[in-house]
Symmetry: C3
Subunit: 163 residues, 3 copies
């Protein structure tokens, strides 16, 4: 690697350190989806939970309890979310042959192989630092539930850990 002095990386000179009694607060969000593929922001609900919790500084872990719905972080803009949906279809098509959808090979009758594969693409969880009871997010960052086999009721576990 190149010399650190020549590196284009600056470290904030201030290292902030905090100490306190460790606590955990958790809840479950239940989310109703209406489309087969749907990208739904849950940022506001997560922020509200963190603000109400007794934990000011730490980390928030948000996890889908499903294998055909995941979680991702990105911008909420209608045109972009439509591009995302098209991208999932292009990279992992819904209408090709999958063994998981074949009654001779699988006892699953939902024909949702594409939904499983897409959930692997996005991942099942995201985690976000919290500072003074607020999510540490960039301007455009939102947490999106990625439904790939809706309409459905989805459970998302939210857990804050810290001081």
């Amino acid at each position: 690697m190149s010399n650190l002095a020549l590196s284009a990386v600056e470290i904030d000179s201030e290292i902030e350190t905090k100490e306190g009694n460790y606590k955990i607060a958790s809840t479950t969000l239940v989310i109703r989806t209406n489309e087969r593929v749907e990208l739904k922001s849950i940022t506001r609900e997560i922020a509200a939970f963190v603000e109400q919790s007794p934990i000011r500084d730490g980390i928030v872990h948000i996890s889908s309890l499903h294998t055909t719905a995941g979680l991702m972080m990105n911008e909420v803009q209608g045109a972009l979310l439509s591009d995302m949906t098209s991208m999932f279809e292009q990279v992992i098509p819904s209408s090709v042959y999958y063994k998981h959808n074949d009654p001779l090979l699988s006892d699953c009758d939902r024909r949702n192989a594409d939904a499983h594969l897409r959930a692997v693409f996005v991942g099942h969880s995201v985690s976000i630092p919290s500072t003074d009871g607020r999510l540490k997010l960039g301007t455009w960052q939102n947490v999106l539930l990625t439904e790939f086999d809706g309409p459905n009721n989805r459970q998302v576990h939210v857990q804050v850990m810290g001081i």
Copy 2:
């Protein structure tokens, strides 16, 4: 965003909070793989470790110590795992030209560029909340080691943090 009152998201009214002495327990799993591409559940081993650890509530971080094997969360069903393997081959083919596999450009003689790229696709770690010594997982969720350059011996670091 739409009005919260009209939102299809319900927050569990009960926010559970726990407090206690912070502890960390860790171990390393060593996993023998037999195929070049192999998806292997390690859920049972992780659950056993968490149960034996002195930590009841917190989070479990599971990380591959490799760049050609990752970790993902999904369902363990033979037909579906075969679809996953086909999907990796379709999205990131093994038999095309890669600079990393070219002796003129790379000192790596494993010809495993596809394995690196697929490891980026799935990610190198997953984390799972634990409650009362048990993994907080949905019915079909399993942790899978994703081997992309086997047969090999793989190390997976497992660390539980909490109270």
Copy 3:
């Protein structure tokens, strides 16, 4: 699943447990990128921060504060990084039609839909255990900032939590 006794998974017999006062240390890295797509290792800077922090054992959470730049873990080798860049272009092409880039449908004038989609592909954060003040990484593992809409100045939040 098969019998544990026949399983090809070994669990390290030693479960290491530590306990202590919980602390959090955080900083922000500011990273200058020079290309539209650039994969830049920030492993050394993260390791230096962890070493300087008062936390010896725990976990390091590294998160991009952007929606068109992410973070991933892999090997730093020139030929391989070039293959990664080609793979992003092949899986998520830059020069096709995206609604997010269409002035009739979007107020974004950066024409960076591909950058958003690629950021979803890699993910916005990675987390790494720390032991005795050192990152728990395999031989070839590095943390890479994945710039998809550069040149730019990027902020990466780094937070260590533990004892």
